[in-house]
Amino acid sequence: MSIASPLALLGRSVIAMQASVGRVAIFTADAVSHLFRPPFYPREFLQALLQIGWLSLPVVGLTALFTGGALALQIYAGGSRFQAESVVPSIVAIGMVRELGPVLGGLMVAARVASSIAAEIGTMKVTEQIDALTTLSTNPMKYLTLPRLLAATLSVPILVAVGDSIGVFGGYVVGVTRLGFNSATYLENTVSYLETWDVISGLVKGAAFGFIVALMGCYHGMNSDRGAQGVGRATKAAVVSASVLILAANFILTEAFFSA
């Protein structure tokens, strides 16, 4: 019994996970299928772009700025141990663009956006607003989920691009003011070692993370239990699952790009 019960627990959670993977897959297929079936709701899409993309800029920008600065200091500390301080500009750029820009940007968007989507849709669910949409001949997946999925998938790469630039700028400021780099050399080193593929792979990650954030927000919101507690649980589940999925997807994508 004492050996079997942890196994049973493991078995149960594996089955539960498979079931929820199945449900999320069906949810995703349903949402995406509306991409090809009118009517469309451009107004909802624009509103989602504003909420998800534009209003996340300050958070993503600040995160990138501080990360870029800290990254420059760390790489300098590491590089100086074998007289390789000169790699700071290029490693900051590559690290930011390929990894930290998309991952930290994605996590910040998960905190800001997955939570608010889940809370909004969850509240609509428990106050019967989702049911009301259906009775008004408006498909909730089409009206609520698809615009958010699209907006996040398109706007997070742009957020990541802006964050990358701000992060590189943060590294530059620290490099020039604290680490004694010449401004022109720093910039030249930043640009000359950075490849197009570095940037593109980071943006592809951004799109995937944006999709994950909106998907988790909508999925948990739409499946919210009744009452305020239900909405609270849905919000928490959305942020946690979006964050974990972002990190898992990051590993898988990095691995894929690495072998490509």
């Binding site: 709701y41 609509m124 019967e128 607003q129 049911d131 009301a132 009775t135 008004l136 001949s137 408006t138």
Partner: protein, 248 residues
């Protein structure tokens, strides 16, 4: 004509509907009464497909309700939800004119707004309410906005889930009259849920009483006082003692 045959619905181990048989002819006003928690709202949601029944069939105009036929049915449908269910991200007039601003009934914005204001007036709300947001209204006002939204596109079938709960007696009277008017003037088929016996007498052609997951009694509104059914009598007169347990 809406027909339910042997409809069952449970949530987990909790049996809510246990074999509902019901017919609502076109143009008739049916009022469903019954204690709170007996499954009246669930009954309406089964017809709308918002809740899937475990067993039994529901037909409208002879067609079994499945996604395609339901879509057509909902095109000419309006519903007042028990809690109002207004969209709190939209101002009142856009809530009321929701159907007129998108989809197949779409029309110019100012025309839709004019219709919305006219419907608001019918439920006793002034034009100033139109630009407020639902959160700025009292519960009773929200309910009336929801009623205005339900009737905005002149539906052929309307469900009202406790339309007068939370309203003062005068406003209840106005709403009862309005519902009666909609049914007689527009020839709409209506199912109304209520606990309010004044509403029952004002609105109903037929009355059905839901108890223990089944239709306990059904008949013309004129017969409710002489039904001889102990359950119905207890409900009508609001007595604590009788066959219906006060603790549920």
């Amino acid at each position: 004509m809406i027909v339910l045959q042997d409809v069952h619905k449970s949530f987990g181990s909790k049996k809510v509907l246990q074999g509902i048989n019901l017919e609502v002819p076109k143009g008739q006003s049916l009022v469903v009464i019954g204690g709170s928690g007996t499954g009246k709202s669930v009954l309406l949601k089964c017809v709308l497909g918002l809740v899937k029944q475990d067993q039994g069939t529901i037909t409208v105009g002879g067609d079994i309700l499945e996604p395609k036929t339901r879509e057509a049915f909902l095109e000419k449908f309006g519903m007042l939800f028990q809690g109002g269910a207004l969209f709190d991200s939209l101002p009142v007039w856009q809530n009321v004119a929701f159907r007129l601003l998108r989809g197949s009934l779409k029309r110019p914005k100012d025309e839709a707004k004019a219709i919305a204001i006219e419907k608001l007036r019918r439920v006793g709300l002034t034009a100033e309410t139109a630009d407020l947001f639902p959160a700025e209204l009292s519960g009773g006002m929200q309910k009336r906005v929801s009623l205005a939204r339900a009737i905005c596109a002149d539906p052929e079938v309307i469900f009202f889930d406790e339309p007068t709960t939370g309203l003062d007696p005068i406003m209840s009277g106005v709403i009862n009259e309005l519902i009666r008017e909609i049914v007689t003037e527009m020839g709409a088929t209506a199912i109304t849920i209520t606990h309010d016996m004044t509403s029952v007498r004002a609105i109903a052609d037929q009355v059905a009483m839901l108890h223990d997951g089944k239709i306990r009694w059904i008949g013309p509104v004129g017969d409710i006082d002489t039904s001889g059914d102990a359950h119905l009598d207890q409900f009508i007169h609001g007595r604590a003692d009788g066959p219906i347990e006060a603790v549920r």
